[in-house]
Amino acid sequence: MTTCQRCTETATVHVTETVEGRRREIHLCGPCARRAGLIAAEEVPPLPLEGVVQGLILAHVGELVGEVAALTCPDCGLKFMEFRRGGRLGCPRDYEAFSIGLIPILGRTQGATRHVGKRPRRPARGVDRLRLRSLLRRAIAREDYEQAARLRDQLRLEDGDE
């Protein structure tokens, strides 16, 4: 168990950030992380004093902490903080999109950050179908059916390409 760097509680939020090219880890408890803007502010609005503290923290750790909190997957739209709450990722791209927040978590929970086992024998196809699908989903959401039809055709075409 790591202790919060700002008080004596158990740290539940762990982030690695880079400031001026140097990486460091931050471990905070829920309330302190919320004050630092690391997790979404919920319940209580910060007291004036806490606002001061928050300002100090931000001055020290820079905007990157907020950046981790604001990470969003470009394909599935999942936010890093939603992942921290629910524990499940939204799509394969998240590992890339959240890597600065996720890699330290893997290091702690798995004790490793590099795969050494089996690999697929053949490389996955080059064209990015995950991206096509997310564009399709968005086209449908804004009722752009012409674009949706085009994207669907493109996906079908590639299905036939194998």
Binding site: P92, Y95, A112
Partner: protein, 355 residues
């Protein structure tokens, strides 16, 4: 294959053979795999989930070479879904979900592939006894065959990408199901669990995470999936299991030596109750069968075979019982039907002789 074909039979992994099968009920490995071009289940729309299922069916089931039968779990009654859980072919989470999903089952029930559980695919292979390398050879080949037809989400740095980071990397869960009545009876089981947790192995009940062990059955499996190869993770488990087997055997011998009469009494009463009861709950049946299984392994009961007992563990559970009876039953009716089923199956057995 349909559910009716399964009802009267039992999986090959229950046949009670294979190395150390007096203590190791079965060995199993599962691989978590996801398709590269779909969001994970958590984020996939209902339509996308249906597409994942259709893709799997068209590429893996249709060609037929793999000899897999596909069951549509979403369209099933809850009784039938429960039946598949009791059978260890799907998880409780898969049973409880409410979206397009299914399970592909291989001949003799050694293979099951859950489609749209927490990951797009959960591939599982099970064999009787302690035979993890054999299980690995089979599941590795099966995984290759599937990968040749579907694009897996894979990253060179992080390996197979999974919905939960606790599975990323190899995506492997290597597990053995152990029957440990001796360690339970001699109250050493907690000590064993603590030692296992220290070396990163998880202990679970019969039906997975968060479930209680009943009938003295425990599943032991790896927790780490990243930074170690599949074979290293299998080796880790293979190194530890023989020690647990040795402890269990020592505990059994100690009971035979120091508490022979108590043990004989417990085993005979259990056997007697199973053969004579007129209503009996599922939990009590599990506990009594556990004692009977121990009795057979110690030579105290000689007119009953391990495969029969293994089968009774599965067939006396609620959904199996109701499918065998061909009717939905209330809890009381089930207790009566269960007792009658047990009396029929154990009818001619003799009780062990006391000294």
């Amino acid at each position: 294959m349909n559910l009716d074909d399964l009802t009267g039979t039992s999986g090959e992994w229950l046949r009670g053979s294979g190395p150390e099968s007096d203590i190791v009920m079965c060995s199993r490995i599962r691989l978590a795999r996801n398709l590269a071009d779909f969001p994970f289940i958590n984020r996939a729309s209902r339509g996308e989930k249906a597409e994942i299922e259709a893709t799997f069916k068209s590429k893996i089931i249709q060609p037929g070479e793999l000899e897999l039968s596909y069951l549509d779990v979403n369209g099933m009654s809850s009784l039938n879904r429960q039946f598949l859980v009791e059978r260890q072919l799907i998880s409780r989470e898969h049973q409880a979900a409410d979206w397009p999903r299914g399970v592909a089952i291989g001949p003799r029930e050694n293979i099951s592939i859950m489609v749209n559980e927490e990951d797009h695919l959960r591939i599982q292979v099970m064999l009787s006894g302690l035979s993890l390398h054999d299980v690995w050879d089979r599941i590795n080949r099966l995984d290759d065959q599937i990968e040749a037809r579907l694009d897996y989400a894979f990253s060179p740095q992080l390996g197979y990408l999974t919905a939960c980071p606790t599975n990323v990397g190899t995506g492997i869960r290597v597990g053995v199901m152990l029957h440990l009545p001796g360690l339970v009876e001699t109250k050493q089981i907690e000590k064993v669990f603590r030692a296992l947790q220290k070396i990163n192995l998880a202990v679970r009940g019969l039906y997975g995470e968060g479930t209680q062990a009943f009938g003295d059955f425990y599943q032991i499996s790896n927790q780490q999936t990243l930074g170690k190869s599949e074979l290293e993770l299998i080796r880790n488990l293979n190194d530890v299991i023989p020690q647990i087997i040795t402890y269990e055997r020592q505990a059994r011998q100690a009971l035979l030596g120091e508490k022979r009469n108590q043990l004989l009494d417990k085993v005979s009463r259990a056997y007697g109750q199973l053969k004579t009861a007129h209503q009996i709950s599922s939990e009590e049946t599990m506990l009594l069968l556990s004692s009977v299984r121990l009795g057979i392994n110690l030579g105290l009961i000689d007119d009953l075979e391990i495969p029969t007992v293994n089968e009774l563990f599965i067939h006396t559970q609620p959904a199996h019982l109701q499918r065998l009876q061909g009717a939905e039953l209330s809890s009381d009716e089930r207790n009566i039907a269960r007792a009658s089923y047990l009396r029929t199956k154990l009818g001619n057995g003799r009780l062990p002789e006391t000294e």
